[in-house]
Symmetry: C2
Subunit: 338 residues, 2 copies
Amino acid sequence: MTRPLPSPDTAPAAPSLDRLVALVATDMAAVNQIILDRMQSPVALIPQLASHLIAAGGKRLRPLITLAAAQLCGYQGTRHQKLAACVEFIHTATLLHDDVVDDSLLRRGAASANAIFGNKSSVLVGDFLFSRAFQLMVEDGSLRVLAVLSEASAVIAEGEVHQLLTTGDLATTEAQYLEVIGAKTAVLFAAAAEVGAVVADRPEDEIQALRRFGTNLGVAFQLIDDALDYAASEAALGKTVGDDFREGKVTLPVILAYARGNAEERAFWHRTIEDLDQTDADLANAQALIEKYGTVRETVARARTVGDAAKAELARFPDIAIRSSLMEAIDFAVSRGY
Amino acid sequence: MTRPLPSPDTAPAAPSLDRLVALVATDMAAVNQIILDRMQSPVALIPQLASHLIAAGGKRLRPLITLAAAQLCGYQGTRHQKLAACVEFIHTATLLHDDVVDDSLLRRGAASANAIFGNKSSVLVGDFLFSRAFQLMVEDGSLRVLAVLSEASAVIAEGEVHQLLTTGDLATTEAQYLEVIGAKTAVLFAAAAEVGAVVADRPEDEIQALRRFGTNLGVAFQLIDDALDYAASEAALGKTVGDDFREGKVTLPVILAYARGNAEERAFWHRTIEDLDQTDADLANAQALIEKYGTVRETVARARTVGDAAKAELARFPDIAIRSSLMEAIDFAVSRGY
């Protein structure tokens, strides 16, 4: 028996999604085909607008979770492909409606659908994709899956309204903030993972473990998103830095910086976040305060703790390639953009 | 045996919904309670905004159809109550999203939810109600009902996008117009009626007859709506007269008047509908052209023909009180506002 030489590519690499993507590549190709087929409509603007978001691609993180969860559960069929497409349709619908909500100028590195096509079509095409997702679920025929994703959709809408209400409100507590991101982001990650275990017909404790995995991954993902909005460069992120600041969103970096600020600093936050009275220099001022109190670093640290909780949920599953690549996906989620 | 004297109140009265409403009153009280219970959310703005539309009431025409269809089919249970609430939730969601789309100033006689609460919350509360409708259907547990209403929702969204594309386009044909109103309005009437027959577990031909009844009633209803936009007084209608004109919607009264107009009149329509270049006097000018060619009267006449087709579908059902009150409801739909 010869001992292998140390290979130059065993040096620790930055975590990535590459291995995960490779392990579900065949399934994802099928998902992409389902998405293309099922966004069709005699009304041509619908596939045009939908493909602007869906074909642009993004990371397809949520359907990836469904496919990986099903594989982790040893599922051998193809139902997870259609259901992963449902998850992506629901996500895309919320993005389209979020464009109306947020006036985002950039999303996924391209001009937002809303900026190009207008509020009206964004709302309606989102409604179409949302309805189409439910049609796909009905075709699949599982009332359990329908229950999971209809509840997720209701909670996402509640979370978005809740976020709207906390916007500009510096009295927002950390607990309220965590409720908002739990509802607006983590619930769909949780549902995406749960659906993978449900189609595999796994026992309830495994379904719930994958659900908790999804919840924690989603919270970690959103914490990093909110950190990046004050930390990253636009080119690296593919979204506008300072969006949250300009919209007066009260995210964790701000909550912590406001809590620790002196009177003058608090007056700055009141003016910029509550009154939305901002000058061009204010984003840099906000970033300086956030740097002073280390609240982006602290937000990232919390994301890592929550990411560890997500990893812990995977421990009960067999130690196969898809499990370690999901672990790596968590590392990727909490280290992206840095 | 004494012969009753002719009663003074046997004189032919204007058709109304009163008898229909009375026949399903108990069920409708249950529907209203379900609506109230299930629009609740820990996020208080959701029931506030939803109740602005739902509690304001309106005619509850769509759930009324579900309840009446079930009664016509001899259904004895209570499932139709929850499903009628679903239908109303879906309708309310489309109204909320239509507010974003249409910038309507008045709806159901009150300031629109959108004008008061803003685009953002209208979109998100609509999403919540839509999701909640699917949750109620999942609780009911019928995949057939889920199929009917998820397809209806997708077609409604397609119809609204299609309408958006025909807005301002005087080349819109009558056939395209009828497609739009078939999709954006008639499909939910059809689904509301179909669901009533589905819960009663009736044979497929009766289900389809009730579906066609709903389609025709919905088309008639929308034709009258589009006629009233040029004909009624605001006080009688509870919505702003001239909305469609100001938004450049190409409805049947306009399509017919444009087709019959001379060069000068066509130039008027191009300026006002295509270019949306309107003065305060232009609505009256448009109404005069529509009067000149009798196109509101013609639209109403078509609605009556379609209403007769709706009545014909009811012929196969037993001649009980609910059937004649549904016939009267059709008469009401095609004569309201006159």
